[in-house]
């Protein structure tokens, strides 16, 4: 299958009075249709910058992003985003928050159909009983479920997840990873996630792309995660392959992520 998403020679450079600050340089990544890819790296390595350029929320200094055969310019509803904090409008209900986007992209559909789409995704993320509660009455974990439903309900070409569970406690995080995987399994949307949680990366993705430390971050290593889907966490925790993957990522983050930097320093 051909590549669905293509990031070619992507760079992000900020001009500062002290000269240019290179955040990301010549970043290349290809994602196949229906693939779930994760970017992992330390804070500040530029992984979120790559994601926000793909989202169209951050200008590209150099390079090209192609999604489904078209070059991307600016943000759009063809990319559903799940933010770290769900960014809901607190005075609207969960249902109204999801409808906000649905009404835009499905403006030609009937009112009943738009309703059905929002209700479907809210029910799938487990909010069937509380979709008519206001966002401010919901717990943090439930709000993030609304965020997931909102992204899927737009029927985007691609899903972008920016540390989607970073603000949740360890147990709620596990619960929501399961929820995400269930919804994702129904649609097999092409997805790119940014995280620094090793377990999350392995559990969710087909491929984990490890980024070296910034500035001028690049791809350091790639790990293919071949566990069959649908995945079961309990079974995974017994698999020795899981621990091999985990060690691979931890070792990279602890040791190799810094290598490029130290090599550069000694070269100077």
């Amino acid at each position: 299958m051909s590549d669905y998403v293509e990031l070619s020679n992507l760079s992000k450079i900020y001009e500062t009075p002290k000269g240019s600050a290179i955040i990301v340089k010549d970043f290349n990544l290809r994602i196949k249709k229906g693939e779930f890819v994760t970017l992992i790296g330390h804070s500040g390595c530029g992984k979120s910058t790559v994601l926000s350029m793909l989202a169209g929320l951050n200008d590209v200094t150099d390079g090209v992003i192609i999604l489904a055969g078209k070059e991307l310019v600016g943000p759009g509803p063809d990319r559903g985003i799940v933010f770290q904090s769900p960014c809901l409008l607190p005075w609207l209900t969960a249902f109204q928050n999801v409808m906000l986007g649905v009404e835009q992209v499905f403006f030609t559909a009937s009112r009943a159909e738009r309703r059905e789409i929002a209700e479907y995704y809210l029910a799938v993320v487990g909010l069937g009983d509380s979709m008519h509660k206001r966002a401010k009455e919901l717990s943090q974990g439930m709000r993030q479920r609304v965020g997931i439903a909102r992204a899927f309900a737009l029927k985007p070409k691609m899903l972008l997840l920016d540390e989607p569970f970073g603000m949740l406690d360890a147990l709620t995080r596990i619960e929501l990873q399961q929820v995400l995987l269930e919804v994702w399994g129904r649609t097999q949307l092409t997805a790119l996630m940014v995280t620094h949680d090793v377990d999350e990366a392995i559990f969710l993705s087909d491929r984990v792309v490890m980024m070296t430390n910034g500035p001028a971050a690049e791809v350091g290593d790639v790990l293919n995660v071949t566990f069959p889907r649908p995945r079961n966490r309990t079974a995974l925790l017994e698999d020795s392959e899981y621990y091999r993957c985990r060690e691979h990522l931890i070792t990279f983050l602890e040791e190799r992520a810094h290598h490029k930097q130290t090599a550069k320093l000694s070269a100077n």
């Binding site: 759009g76 509803p77 063809d78 835009q104 992209v105 499905f106 403006f107 030609t108 559909a109 159909e113 059905e116 789409i117 209700e119 479907y120 029910a123 799938v124 487990g126 069937g128 009983d129 717990s139 943090q140 737009l154 029927k155 985007p156 406690d169 360890a170 147990l171 709620t172 596990i174 619960e175 620094h196 966490r233 309990t234 925790l237 017994e238 621990y243 985990r246 060690e247 931890i250």
Partner: protein, 305 residues
């Protein structure tokens, strides 16, 4: 006789029809010198449980006893480290700890009190920052002050209420090592409340899961028989670590998890495609129904170059 014992403890909040039983029938025995971790969801009632042990609240039924005496009110016997540090912002590190020490040991000579305070500041590696105010300290340093203050009271039991939840992963790891080191040196009885299973395995002798609320209750305990000091990296390969991790997590996600709402309503997902908002609406105006998947056509255009 157990050092700390909870018998049939329940706690409700609210009145009338809104009355909710938060904790239901808890039984727990902790021996002297033991490090116990209670792991559960946020909102399950972990902090309520801590307040009951601390004596800040009384249970509705059942009893909490420390060395056979019923816990009726807060006392310096039981020191708490809160998640939000709870330091006095206008006092320095030294003064914050001195406040506790002066209150509890008023009859000690001044020199002895000062030496005592300095000892605990040194224990948490804050001697260079002793004159700083809490706002000048990072989250991790503030939590160290809070730990030093609790230990300086010479409590019989140390209660840690999600002490590291507000910190980033790296600081959390450093403080976990520090807590382990301090505990090794004076072997106090510790009750740690956390939502991080790995943290529990790293530090505790015994892990007790608290099921999701309402009506949260304690699940079957899991002994952590891994020799100390425990190394985070080596743990990853330890089959005992994997087994304990799996047991606790599967309890919390299975029987101890939140009630799942089951929906019997039939759900329909319309098979329609979203509109491309980059195309001006005037141009799609001729079509007032969405494209259905079955109606989509693949078109290819040949372009001569």
């Amino acid at each position: 006789m157990a050092f700390l014992e909870l018998q049939n403890v329940s706690k409700c909040y609210g009145i009338g029809v809104k009355r909710v039983e938060v904790l239901h029938d808890l039984n727990l025995k902790i021996a002297e010198g033991e490090f116990v971790a209670i792991v559960g969801y946020s909102g399950a009632g972990k902090t309520t449980l801590m307040s009951l042990i601390a004596g800040l609240q009384r249970p509705d039924t059942g009893s909490v006893t420390l060395r056979g005496e019923e816990v009726k009110e807060p006392s310096p016997d039981r020191a708490i480290v809160f998640q939000n540090y709870s330091l006095l912002p206008w006092l320095s590190v030294y003064e914050n700890i001195a406040l506790a020490v002066d209150t509890i040991f008023p009859d000690w000579p001044q020199a002895k009190r000062r030496a005592h305070i300095e000892k605990f500041i040194a224990m948490v590696n804050l001697t260079p920052a002793r004159e700083k105010k809490p706002r000048e300290l990072s989250g991790g340093m503030r939590q160290r002050v809070s730990v030093a203050r609790a230990l300086a009271m010479n409590p019989r039991i140390l209660l840690l209420d999600e002490p590291l939840s507000a910190l980033d992963a790296l600081t959390r790891a450093t403080l976990q090592d520090e807590i382990e080191r301090i505990w090794e040196s004076d072997r106090k009885t510790v009750v740690l409340i956390t939502n991080d299973v790995d943290e529990g395995i790293l530090l505790a002798d015994r892990i007790i899961p608290l099921s999701a609320g309402p009506r949260a209750t304690l699940g079957p305990e899991v002994k952590v028989d891994i020799e100390r000091p425990r190394n985070r990296k080596e743990l990853n390969h330890d089959p005992r670590f994997k087994a304990i991790r799996k047991e606790v997590i599967s309890y919390l996600l299975g029987t101890g998890s939140r009630a799942k709402s089951s929906l019997t309503r039939k759900l329909i997902l319309p098979d329609i495609e979203p509109e491309d908002l980059n195309i001006p609406r005037s141009m799609t105006g001729w079509r007032n129904t969405p494209i259905r998947k079955g109606e989509m056509k693949e078109e290819s255009v040949e372009v001569k170059s």
